[in-house]
């Protein structure tokens, strides 16, 4: 029997869990959120269900079916509020101490409802044997903390499964502009998350700006929760969008809108009279306590603002999105190779370059929900030992071929263009955690003449703060590269974060304590279900 750990319970992770279970694998499905569904199917808490949920989500019925089946399945162990904070390659920890000699070390509560004494947990006997064999494989170990993110004494688990499916998705990217650190300026993703999970509109008069088809569902969500959406500003020009979408643009509808039907959005836009302007962007936000108005300007095809085209718009909120950045830290920690475009490199089976590690969804390309579901299904199947030639995979393989290239087309139509720093001023904050502004960053780079990102990060402090460059990392890299003749040369990436999430020192230190009887027994993907997800 194969043990599969799946990281991320959005569309790709849920699909992977479902298809891995279809082949009989024991599955552990981990997600850091309180609920299943990921960013895409983010919804109200269970305690406050809504009859209108389906109206806010594409594929809500699909999601409910996926969840219901997995939750009811005793061989799918679901852990929510489960933060994977590190992934370590198998060999590096071998033989260095009692906490890492076996295939897995777990807190005693890992055995969950089946009991804390391994001698009495019949279910764990299988795991003991299975995991002993897995110590010889090169599949990395997954280190997890379970509990409230800021809570004390989170439960510490680690898994050394036969296969790992990485499906931890992407976060939305917002390019900085003067005033973007004012209250009232939101990323498009944060605004949509509030609308979906709390039914809260970030403002009454809201402008949505940036690039990419994701802006449309954000505007729609805002309108649905009562905001007046003043407009959607797409930085790219219509000509480029049309050329990027290319032939058969209807193919991209699912991908582009992250699943929602374009017709639905169009209807929404008309009903709510939301103007959609291309070749224009927000270049500054103004206000003292919070944003009161923004300056928009026409952008040329390289996104340089065109002088004399500025307009001022009174708003109480602005939502910014310039596409998505895959959350690569776990894949990098596992040793997975990346593509030139900096996504996780996978083959037709969704295999990464590390044996036993698979990736699906937005880690591999920003291709939307339909691509994520297909990739997840294939990854789960392959991780459980299945083959692409299996009959169940036939339609999936065909769909994967259809979806291949979608991400590239969307990138071509909506990707970030090089001249955007034209709207920055010296005092524009670039790294909000460390309060590094554009002028200081450039001055330091010019003074040191450094060509290495490692050194530049340390000398500018950009990207060194609490978010560890999740918000600003790509921007910092691009801006510093502009200051360096020939570009940055040390191959360092802000995506590398061996500690994938902050860990309390007490929790970290607990791993060094002498092993308790429960902790020392090899336990991997225990089929017990100590933690029920809320759906």
């Amino acid at each position: 029997m194969t043990d599969v750990v799946i990281i991320g319970a959005g569309p790709a992770g849920l699909a992977a869990a479902t298809s891995a279970r279809a082949l009989g694998a024991h599955v552990v499905l981990l997600d850091s959120a309180d609920q299943l569904g990921g960013q895409y199917w983010r919804h109200l808490p269970t305690q406050r269900p809504s009859k209108h949920e389906a109206g806010l989500h594409h594929g809500w019925a699909k999601f409910q079916k996926l969840c219901a089946d997995l939750v009811a399945d005793p061989d799918c162990r679901i852990l929510t509020q489960a933060q994977v904070w590190a992934i370590t390659a198998a060999e590096s920890s071998a033989g260095t101490g009692p906490a890492s000699t076996g295939s897995a070390t777990t807190g005693s509560a890992c055995t969950g409802s089946a009991g804390t004494d391994p001698a009495t947990t019949g279910a764990s006997a299988r795991n003991s044997a299975g995991s002993a064999a897995s110590t010889t494989s090169a599949v990395p170990t997954v280190h997890v903390l379970v509990g409230e993110p800021d809570g004390v004494g989170r439960e510490r688990l680690s898994f050394s499964p036969d296969a790992i499916v990485l499906a931890n998705g992407a976060h939305d990217r917002a390019l900085p502009f003067p005033g973007w650190d004012l209250p009232g300026v939101f990323t498009a993703g944060a605004a949509q998350a509030l609308a979906k999970s709390e039914r809260i509109a970030v403002g009454d008069r809201v402008l949505v700006a940036g690039a990419g088809p994701f802006l449309l569902p954000v505007a729609a969500s805002l309108a649905q929760v009562g905001a007046t959406v003043l407009g959607v500003l797409e930085a790219n020009h219509m000509q480029r969008i049309i050329s990027g979408w290319g032939k058969k643009p209807w193919q991209l509808i699912g991908a582009a809108s992250k699943g929602a039907e374009l017709a639905g959005y169009a209807r929404n836009h008309i009903a709510n009279r939301i103007p959609y302007l291309t070749g224009r962007g927000v270049v500054a936000a103004h206000g003292t306590e919070r944003v009161t108005h923004v300056t928009t300007a026409k952008l040329d095809t390289g996104w340089a603002p065109i002088a004399g085209t500025e307009k001022t718009v009174a708003v109480d909120a602005v939502c910014i999105g310039h596409g998505f950045t895959p959350r690569l830290e776990l894949a990098i920690a596992a040793g997975c190779a990346l593509t030139a475009e900096r996504f996780v490199r996978v083959d037709a089976h969704q295999r990464t370059t590390v044996p036993g590690v698979y990736a699906a969804g937005e880690l591999t390309a920003i291709g939307g929900v339909d691509a994520a579901l297909v990739e997840g299904t294939i990854a789960g199947h392959a991780a459980a030992g299945g083959h692409l030639s299996d009959p169940a995979m036939k339609s999936q393989v065909a769909k994967r071929i259809t979806f291949s290239g979608f991400a590239r087309r969307i990138e071509k139509a909506h990707g970030i263009r090089a001249m955007w720093p034209g709207w920055l001023t010296d005092d524009t904050i670039i790294c909000r955690c460390e309060e590094v502004n554009y002028g200081a960053m450039c001055q330091t780079a010019q003074a040191t003449e450094s060509t290495g990102l490692r050194s530049l990060k340390l000398s500018t402090r950009a990207g060194l703060g609490l978010c560890q460059g999740r918000v600003c990392g790509r921007t910092v890299e691009e801006l510093l590269a502009c200051q360096t003749p020939g570009g940055l040369s040390d191959g360092v990436m802000t995506d590398r974060r061996p500690i994938a999430a902050p860990v309390r020192i007490a929790d970290l230190a607990a791993a060094a304590l002498p092993a308790s009887p429960g902790r020392n027994s090899p336990q991997t993907a225990s089929p017990s279900k100590p933690s029920r997800p809320t759906t």
């Binding site: 920890s93 200081a440 330091t444 450094s450 490692r454 402090r461 060194l464 020192i505």
Partner: protein, 420 residues
Amino acid sequence: MIDDVLVIGAGIVGAACARTFAAAGLQVTVVERGAAAGGTSAAGEGNLLLSDKQPGAELVLAQYSATLWPDTVADLTAELPGTFPSVEFEQKGGLVVATTEPGAQPLLDFAARQSDSGVDARPISTAEALVLEPDLNPAITAAVHYPEDSQVQPTIAAEALLASARVRGVRVITNTRVTGPILSASGDLVGVQTSKGDLHAGHVVIAAGPWSGEVAAALGVNLPVKPRRGMVLVTTRMPHRVFHKVYDADYVGATLSSDAALQTSSVVESTASGTVLIGSSRQQVGFDNRFDVHVLAEIAAKALRLFPFLAGMSVMRAYGGFRPFMPDHMPLIGADPRLPGLWHATGHEGAGIGLALGTADIITALMTGDQPPIDPTPYSPARDSLAPFLDSDDAARLSDASAATADDTADQAAVSGGAA
């Protein structure tokens, strides 16, 4: 173009050497396989320590280097543009504590011997230690205050020394790998082949830290420098609660040990940016940079013995690096008698930031024929303690060469130095 000196490696040691060579009037090129200050110099805590050195030649070098830092920082500030980031030099002092009964007397004895060697080492009571560090675990068994211990931001310090070197006319070539030697008809080293062409120089100095062994091998010489891995944890920003460099006395044991297995010892200090650095580990695993959760856990657990309040703080980042480990625990500074023209400035293990300035002065004096500021023989590549770690042919050649006096080397250097 033929330089007087080619320095291989743009970390803090290479940068410091290039700067002093240039100040002595030599024409200098630095060649670096990656980006400057991107290796060991970017992976440490910036220690300028006397407290962890036992009496002997390394302590002498540390004491000499310590005298140079304040003026050097002032010079750098004056030379470099106002936009250059601060090197964050701070003479914050060190506090070394014992946390066990058996550990108390050895610490006090160690401090007494250091005191005899001129180190300002002050045994203090627990009450006095708690005045220095109010959040320190009061269950300590001994404490010694070292007011001379200091700290810099090591990456910025390396960049600043390199920028200062450039101001003095040093050429810096990055992203260029040394691939082989250029030898004269008589077999002397007169330059190196690189991935981007040949570089000619009268002297070649290897300052490549833990990678010095690889560089030496490319030049045809065996050098027993090995990487010794270390990990440091970085907390989120917090109000200033750790005021000195505070460490457990077993850190000294770890720095003096040759054990290849994992050793951790607690070192806790604040940085100017408000984070707290928690070290440290020592482990010989080659250049394996994979992450080991067990190492981090052990570092964290030991830090809590010093500062229990850290339990509630969060680690947001961890970084690892490689120290240039020498089997006889002594930096390698001077001419390599096996290959005329070749010099070494490496093997400082975890102390390279602190020892860089003294190392640069010694090697510059040897090269130009000046009187070195301190006796250079303990650091010489021809020293006896190194012989067992070289292969037999090398050892024989080294001992033959050491029969020649240091003056010969200096004279030879002075000729080419004077020709510059």
